[in-house]
């Protein structure tokens, strides 16, 4: 564990000011940051950790002005159990429920989940044994020719073939969510990028404050399906968020690329069609168009096809 100073923020302004001074990181549930600090696997360890959980009024789920608003400090358990999320934004409730374990969901927040650091086994090697590209621009990607069973099947982003580890991310992209911060409001589709050690575009002093999801058109159905080796606690090897209405389809893949990835061909294949085994299979089969397996992960192409099909069928 690195040594650091712990600061409780009383407001977003407080937190912003604290983050702007020197090398600092925000903490909410801490389920990701603490493992990173304990493993000492960042080249840039924070001298200060700024606690956001002491900021009031950031834990809520409410419908307002034609959209669902979720405070960034809302726990994944609260989201998974919310009736309104389960009924109208099913993919998000299912993604929250599929995340980690009950204990971690009770602590982890939606804001934290979309601000995780990479889970690549080289990136996470304790004591910074492997100075990979995500930490050090002069480093290299060890996974490319090494252990890559869990890695991208759609190539690299900024030289990295790790996958976006968030269950929540593909659901937000598929639901066309917006992510509000203390500086601006992002389209979820633009939010998730490879930016050094980050999986998102945030500045060092930028804090996620709220998730906003437009209310789906009547008759829209959504689903999130996840594949992992264990039935609990694992990060997604492949996940699929599907949001399908009579004339539209949004299908977003997780766990297969450094960013959540729209499966445009699958969307086109299912759009406007009756959902049945044949149409779902057809869409699943084209979901992996453009994929290229690394040495160990050809199986993910097969799994992606099957999970896409199952996500679509779940929207029937």
């Amino acid at each position: 564990m690195y040594n650091f100073t712990h600061v409780n923020a009383n407001s977003i302004d407080d937190a912003t000011a604290a983050l702007a001074q020197g090398n600092a990181r925000a903490i909410a549930g801490g389920t990701d940051l603490v493992t990173l600090l304990k493993g000492m696997c960042t080249l840039n360890p924070p001298e200060k950790v700024v606690n956001l959980k002491t900021i009031p009024n950031m834990n809520y789920i409410r419908e307002e002005g034609g959209s669902l608003k979720i405070g960034a400090l809302t726990t994944l358990t609260a989201i998974a159990k919310s009736d309104v999320v389960k009924n109208k934004y099913t993919a998000l409730a299912q993604a929250a429920k599929a995340t980690a374990s009950p204990e971690l969901r009770n602590t982890g927040t939606i804001g934290g989940n979309i601000c995780q650091k990479p889970r690549c086994i080289y990136y996470r090697a304790e004591l910074n044994t492997f100075s990979c590209l995500r930490k050090d621009p002069s480093g290299m990607c060890y996974a490319l020719a090494g252990i890559n069973k869990r890695h991208s099947i759609f190539g690299a982003a900024a030289g990295c073939v790790d996958v976006c580890p968030s269950d929540i991310a593909p659901a937000l992209v598929a639901l066309k969510a917006k992510i509000a911060t203390n500086k601006k409001t992002w389209d979820a589709a633009d939010f998730f990028v490879v930016k050094g050690e980050q999986i998102n575009s945030l500045d060092a002093d930028e804090i996620v404050t709220e998730i906003q999801i437009p209310e789906p058109a009547s008759g829209t159905k959504s689903a999130y399906v996840k594949f992992a080796f264990r039935k609990s606690i694992d990060f997604p090897l492949v996940s699929v968020a599907a949001v399908i209405s009579a004339d539209d389809a949004s299908i977003v893949l997780g766990g297969v690329h450094p960013q959540p990835r729209r499966a445009s061909a699958a969307e086109d294949a299912i759009k406007g069609k009756a959902i049945d085994d044949a149409s779902a299979t057809e869409a699943g089969d084209v979901a992996t168009q453009g994929s290229t397996a690394l040495g160990e992960n050809r199986y993910k192409i097969q799994i992606t096809k099957v999970m896409t099909k199952r996500a679509i069928l779940a929207c029937a």
Binding site: M1, Y2, N3, T35, G39, M40, P45, S101, R119, I121, Y122, R124, A125, E126, L127, N128, T129, F130, Y142, A145, G146, I147, K149, F227, F229, R230, K231, S232, I233, D234, F235, E296, N297, R298, Y299, K300, I301, Q302, I303, V306
Partner: protein, 755 residues
């Protein structure tokens, strides 16, 4: 030794009467002794797979506030400048707090001269491969070579000859709940050390030998191990901790390996492959087997691979055979003991090989097994041809067959879809186990009675769990004729007050240590009865000898007139504390004659196990659901039913983990072990199996070797993950290539040609 009959222990009708008094599960560990700790230590692993340390630059670490000292192989006697695996300790930091100690590791710069190393065991065995440095003139050695009958003639006489190859099974770390740690401090020229160890005297000897100290100046304590699985049997880093403490003037230093150090520097299960050639008649009778096994010991030349053939050798009646085991070394972390050391990987090789033979013969594998099963009352086929003290394989196979409904469920491989589209599979496997007997286990027990009549059982080993020690106290009570509640636990695991008990294996504790405690109690009983005949009440009886006395309910009485009695407190009045000591019983027929062999003759005393497994395999995703498991274990005698059930259920979980999820992950370029975190270790969780059709059934064979007929069961009950592999084959019709890892969905999809 005369055997006074135990009235409760070992009687089937008394399963629920034992095991409830002493068990407390209140444990304290080395890191619980924090008030004692002044400094914390952590160590850094090498980042090359083979080479020599040329230079260690610790200047940046030493500049860090809170760092007290940096140590290298020049300071620590058990460390080495020659590097043989990625992760081998090269430097350590002693600091004022654990965070600083670990952070300072990142500030130590180590310069290496790299040498060629080998990660892949096949490459290591290749002709002309460079030496990896752990053996003088080779990278491998044949460690077992047993021959029976005439192999060539047997093969020539067979209707069918089949050569089978099984590729490498998985290697994985134990993931003990409590990571490795030890605490040491000095008082004058005496050193004291706490360590969670399964071999406390081994940990003591590491300091004695490493630091060249006289044994009476080294004091090592162990109490509990937060699980060990065999991985805490060879802990010698007490020598490093003691040295670190000496460097800081004898102040208490807690050396914590953490999950990371435990994964990199401690033992793990070995990976195993085989080439097995069968000769069989068309009716399924096997007439010859030529079985060659290859075990990857990593850097350990002593990796315990030599007995992997045991189940194949002892379960089946095969007249002509060759069993050969080769121990291969690689520049990877050393393999060591794991629960049931040899048998799970052994069975995961020879059971699939046997199923391949059945397929070739167009027979149900169960029929081939039953056709060739060595009868339970037959002696071992190999010299010295000893009888078995107790063996129940046939009954257990038949129970698995019946309980699982196998007769109605078996089908040809790859032929039975379920309603939901998945494929159904079922298999039964079982074998004698190289563990579970009383052979050699259990020694160094001491039973002490104080002048107030209280009695304590003591041994130089970790308590490990509470079931075994509880039973040992009960055994002492019965042997002495005391109430259970009058016998307590002494200072177990204290090298100052106990005798060397060897390696403590919780899973064979009741069978092994129980015998030693029985002997110790009988030794004490003799002394106490000698005291008793000198006391008022007994001494006036004409011609009385100790043989005229007996004891019950903590009272000694005269057999000629049971109303003449003294409590043990009265017997002990005016006498100093008195102790008896004893060793285990060894594998000799004691309670009855077997197969015409008289009591007193050496025998084989081993456990055995059998499992039926039913699976559903999703061929779209490669996911395997184990939908049923019927696990039978020959317990000899079930002593503590609750503990027995617990062991069996933990065995079921371990089998599922071992077959489906357990596997180290190594970077092929560097041989770095990357699975140091839970995401890659993939410990099994309750959500990974439903357990609806899971049954654990103990079978009592009453082994004639032990003091009360018990087998150790912790290990035999984890041996049958081969049944899962065979059931998957029955479902898909394909054999998986585990390639050193677990049978995860990607492996299944690969076998199906979908990945």
């Amino acid at each position: 030794m005369a055997l006074p009959e135990l009235k409760v222990i070992g009687k089937s009708e008394n399963h629920d009467k034992v095991g409830h008094l002493v068990a407390s599960c209140k444990a304290d560990f080395a890191s619980d002794r924090l008030p004692l700790v002044k400094y914390y230590a952590a160590s850094k692993g090498a980042t090359v797979m083979r080479g020599v340390v040329k230079n260690v630059d610790a200047s940046r670490a030493l500049d860090l506030p809170g760092v007290i000292a940096v140590v290298t192989h020049e300071d620590i006697p058990i460390w080495n400048e020659a590097i043989f695996w990625w992760g081998q300790e090269v430097a350590g930091v002693i600091a004022e707090d654990p965070q600083t100690a670990r952070y300072a590791l990142t500030l130590i710069d180590v310069e290496y001269e790299e040498r060629p190393g080998i990660y892949d065991p096949d490459e290591s065995m290749r002709d002309g491969a460079p030496l990896i440095g752990v053996r003088p003139d080779s990278n491998y050695a044949v460690v077992t070579d047993l021959k029976r009958g005439d192999l060539e003639e047997g093969m020539a006489s067979a209707d069918v000859v089949l050569e089978t190859n099984q590729d490498w099974t998985n290697t994985f770390q134990h993931n003990c709940m409590e990571a490795h740690q030890s605490l040491a401090w000095w008082v004058g020229d005496h050193v004291y050390c706490w360590i969670p160890s399964q071999h406390v005297f081994g940990a003591k000897n590491a300091i004695v030998n490493g630091l060249g100290l006289p044994a009476n100046k080294v004091h090592v304590y162990t109490r509990f191990t937060g699980t060990g699985h065999g991985d805490k049997a060879g802990d010698i880093f007490t020598a490093a901790t003691a040295t670190m403490s000496k460097i800081v003037g004898g102040a208490p230093v807690l050396f914590e390996k953490g999950r990371y150090g435990s994964m990199l520097q401690h033992g793990r299960q070995f990976d195993l492959k085989s080439e097995i050639k069968w000769g069989a008649n068309s009716d399924g009778k096997i007439v010859a087997v030529d079985a060659k096994f290859f075990g990857n010991g990593g850097v350990h030349t002593w990796a315990p691979v030599g007995n992997v053939h045991f189940g194949l050798r002892t379960t089946y009646d095969i007249p002509n055979a060759n069993f050969q085991v080769t121990s291969v070394n690689t520049n990877t972390p050393g393999r060591s003991y794991w629960r049931c050391v040899n048998d799970p990987p052994g069975a995961a090789n020879y059971d699939p090989a046997l199923f391949k033979l059945a397929e070739k013969l167009d027979m149900d594998p169960y029929d081939v097994v039953m056709k060739n099963l060595l009868p339970d009352d037959a002696p071992d086929l190999d010299p010295p041809n000893r009888v078995w003290g107790g063996r129940m394989l046939k009954d257990m196979f038949e129970w698995c067959h019946q309980a699982s409904g196998y007769a109605n469920k078996y089908h040809k491989p790859g032929t039975k879809p379920l309603d939901d589209g998945r494929l159904h599979g079922i298999a039964i496997t079982g074998h004698m186990d190289s563990h579970g007997g009383v052979n050699g286990a259990g020694r160094g027990a001491i039973v002490t009675m104080l002048p107030d009549g209280r009695c304590f059982a003591n041994v130089g080993g970790a308590r490990g769990c509470e079931g075994g020690p509880t039973i040992c106290c009960h055994v002492v009570a019965e042997a002495l004729g005391m109430k259970y509640e009058d016998v307590g636990l002494g200072r177990w695991g204290d090298t100052d007050t106990a005798l060397d008990a060897g390696i403590q294996a919780g899973s064979t504790f009741t069978a092994g240590a129980g015998g030693a405690f029985y002997s110790a109690a009988m030794d004490l009983r003799k002394k106490l009865f000698e005291y008793a005949i000198t006391k008022d009440g007994f001494r006036d009886i004409e011609g009385i000898t100790p043989e005229d006395l007996d004891a019950e309910d903590s009272e000694v009485f005269y057999k000629g007139d049971t109303s003449i009695r003294l409590t043990y407190r009265q017997v002990m009045a005016g006498t100093p504390p008195t102790a008896g000591s004893g060793n285990g019983w060894g594998s000799t027929l004691r309670s009855r004659s077997v197969g015409g062999v008289p009591i007193g003759e050496p025998c084989n005393s081993n456990g055995s196990a059998c499992t039926a497994v039913e699976v559903a395999v999703d061929t779209d995703t490669g996911e395997v659901e184990v939908t049923g498991m019927w696990n039978a274990v020959d317990t000899g005698r079930t002593i503590f039913k609750q503990g027995t059930d617990k062991e069996m259920w933990s065995g079921i979980e371990l089998m599922l983990w071992q077959a489906l999820l357990a596997g180290d992950v190594y970077d092929p370029a560097t041989s770095a072990c990357l699975s140091t975190q839970w995401t890659e270790s993939m410990m099994i969780t309750p959500l990974d199996f439903k357990g609806e059709n899971f049954v654990a059934q103990d079978f009592e064979s009453d082994d004639a070797a032990g003091p009360y007929g018990a087998h150790g069961i912790g290990e035999p009950c984890v041996t049958n993950y081969s049944a899962i592999l065979c059931a998957i084959h029955n479902a898909t019709g394909k054999w998986v290539d585990m390639n050193h890892g677990p049978c995860t969905p990607d492996v299944i999809l690969k076998s199906l040609g979908k990945a």
